[in-house]
């Protein structure tokens, strides 16, 4: 009986403390009142955004940042509906989304917060070290079916891709297979293996000398071979790295965005400025993305 009472008291105390904890600390911790930032969108960015929010909150205890994923489209839709302060997106906002936002009295402003290189990888046994974008396009569309056609061994090519719902898949389709041309209707060859995870691609490339795959640079382990890529025939072959992404010589890299309603002000401006600081950009590099500076 005694123990029960003790337990109940403790529980009540814990609930009480946790319920008024943030409010009281915000009143006493600093001169500015507690502030909230809602941050939502791309699943590619969500881990990065979480790491940033965690670091920023521990430096600024009076600011709360809530981060959720759900996909670039979800984030932008929330911005258009005015329910988030910052939308994360791994793609540019579309014109119809801008129109929709304008109709709701919202003015999306774009901020490039990091970059993401996509590395084309093969098994270390594969003698191929460099390819042109056109060759990669031909491999994935099924025009090239054997490694010997591009100077490799006599082996069939096994094409690995992410699932069609992945933003990376769509980016790869538009930038590599169709070489950035909107009229081009090239599709992935039907026998392309669509693997549900980055890990699946890496496991297959690691053990299969026939395979070719692609993945975010940060996901690629050191024991797999990254292909140097030339934008056009006769161009220089460039390996993916932080430097080659930032000087735009590496062909398959994309910007990652945050969108705000109008030019950011107050704490949102402070947060975005901090994101572009060297401290926050170091977190970008630590997570395998490419810093913008």
């Amino acid at each position: 009986m005694n123990r029960n009472i003790l337990l109940t008291t403790m529980l009540v105390a814990v609930v009480f403390m946790s319920s008024c904890g943030p409010a009281s600390s915000a009143e006493t911790a600093s001169d500015s009142p507690a502030a909230y930032i809602e941050n939502k969108g791309s699943d590619t960015i969500v881990n990065l955004a979480l790491a940033w929010a965690e670091q920023y909150q521990s430096d600024h205890p009076n600011i709360r940042i809530s981060v959720t994923g759900g996909g670039s489209g979800t984030g932008i839709a929330a911005l258009v509906n005015g329910t988030v302060d910052i939308a994360n997106a791994s793609r540019k906002i579309k014109q119809e989304e801008i129109d929709q936002a304008k109709a709701n009295g919202i003015d999306p402003v774009e901020h490039i917060i990091a970059r993401d290189a996509i590395a084309v990888i093969v098994n270390p046994e594969n003698p191929i070290t460099q390819l042109t974008l056109k060759q990669i396009s031909d491999i994935y569309s099924g025009k090239i079916v054997n490694w010997k056609e591009i100077g490799g061994e006599d082996r069939p090519i096994v094409r690995l891709s992410r699932e069609t719902n992945s933003g990376t898949h769509v980016y790869f389709l538009e930038t590599v297979l169709r070489l950035g041309s909107k009229e081009d209707k090239t599709l992935f060859s039907m026998d392309t293996l669509l693997l549900p995870s980055s890990e699946g691609i890496i496991a297959e490339v690691r053990q299969n000398p026939n395979a070719i795959g692609y993945d975010g640079l940060g996901y690629v382990p050191k024991d797999l071979k990254k292909i140097a890529i030339a934008k056009e025939d006769g161009g220089a072959y460039i390996l993916p790295s932080i430097e080659t992404v930032n000087d735009k010589t590496y062909a398959i890299a994309r910007d990652l965005y945050m969108y705000t309603n109008g030019q950011p002000q107050g704490i949102i401006k402070e947060y975005l400025d901090w994101i572009l600081s060297s401290e926050a950009q170091q977190i970008v590099a630590d997570l395998g993305f490419v810093p913008v500076k």
Partner: protein
């Protein structure tokens, strides 16, 4: 006193009856929901393109034939593995194995049945698929065959436990009768025990096949998910994409109410109808067997 007992009796029987009927209700509700979400696919996609050979939903190619053939070939492969192994194991456990062996084997088989399929899929990626690629000299080890082998492993425990129960239920007098006529052990198993337990064994096989059709996680991890039409015998050693893996992989990202969403539900209907077909086939076989047994006995 008498009255309250009656009351309790009344409530308990109704409750039991209701939970029995609830199964019908649940299946009907699930089917109703599938139809409601899946049938709009017919309005949005032409029938001709729905039964086409190209599946690439982000460019509006909604041909589900590769997915159906993919599911079928993986399931047939799994059946060929699970049936002989499953029945063989059941016969060994119930007829041949000494008592101590039985005590070890039964819980082991049940443990196998309880393995999470994602674990098997992981083993499939890391161990089985590289082995199959090297052993059969294929371009890749992520094939229908890899899926079939793992699915066979998943279906075996189901087949074994149901079939073993059925074999166990065959009266001892049947076997003794056979032995008394001078039949060998094998003749007794093949001509007496197995036929006597036929309906139970068949139920086990059908449940195992049902398990194989519906399995998702392992298949998604090891079959390569390439939506290629699988019509030839050689398709067993090439990558395929099954209906379940397609639903699982794409459900998360489709916009609610879009064409893609409706087509995924339509695939759900097809899957539902296939498992219904398997079940009907199973019960009609069992039913016929019962009828014949009654005729012989009367």
């Amino acid at each position: 006193m008498e009255k309250s007992l009656n009351w309790r009796e009344f409530i308990i029987t109704r409750l039991i009856k209701a939970s029995g009927y609830s199964a019908i209700l649940f299946v009907a509700l699930i089917f109703f929901f599938l139809v409601r979400e899946g049938v709009p696919a017919f309005a949005e996609v032409e029938l001709k393109s729905l039964f086409n050979i190209r599946w690439y939903p982000i460019e509006e190619y909604f041909g589900i034939l590769p997915l159906i053939t993919g599911s079928l070939i993986v399931t047939i492969g799994a059946t060929f593995i699970a049936v002989p192994f499953g029945i063989g194991t059941a016969v060994y456990i119930s007829e041949i194995a000494p008592r101590w062996m039985r005590e070890i084997l039964k819980p082991l088989v049940e443990l196998l049945g309880g393995l999470p399929s994602v674990v098997l899929g992981f083993l499939g990626i890391l161990v089985l698929s590289p082995f199959i690629r090297v052993f059969l000299d294929l371009p890749t080890g992520l094939t229908a065959l890899t899926g079939s082998i793992l699915l066979g492993g998943i279906a075996v425990p189901t087949v074994v436990s149901v079939a073993e129960d059925a074999l166990d239920a065959v009266p001892r007098a049947y076997r003794e009768g056979a032995w008394a006529l001078g039949a060998t052990r094998w003749q007794t198993i093949w001509r007496v025990t197995l036929p006597a337990a036929k309906s139970g064994v068949l139920t086990g096989v059908m449940l195992g096949i049902g398990r194989a059709i519906g399995e998702t996680m392992t298949v998604m991890m090891v079959t390569g998910n390439a939506p290629v039409l699988a019509l030839k015998l050689a398709s067993i050693i090439s990558p395929v994409r099954t209906m379940t893996a397609t639903i699982a992989a794409e459900m998360g990202e489709v916009a609610n109410g879009s064409t893609h969403y409706h087509v995924l539900f339509f695939i759900g209907i097809v899957l539902f109808l296939i498992s219904l077909g398997v079940n009907i086939a199973a019960s009609s076989v069992v039913f016929r067997a019962k009828k014949r047994a009654e005729r012989i006995l009367s």
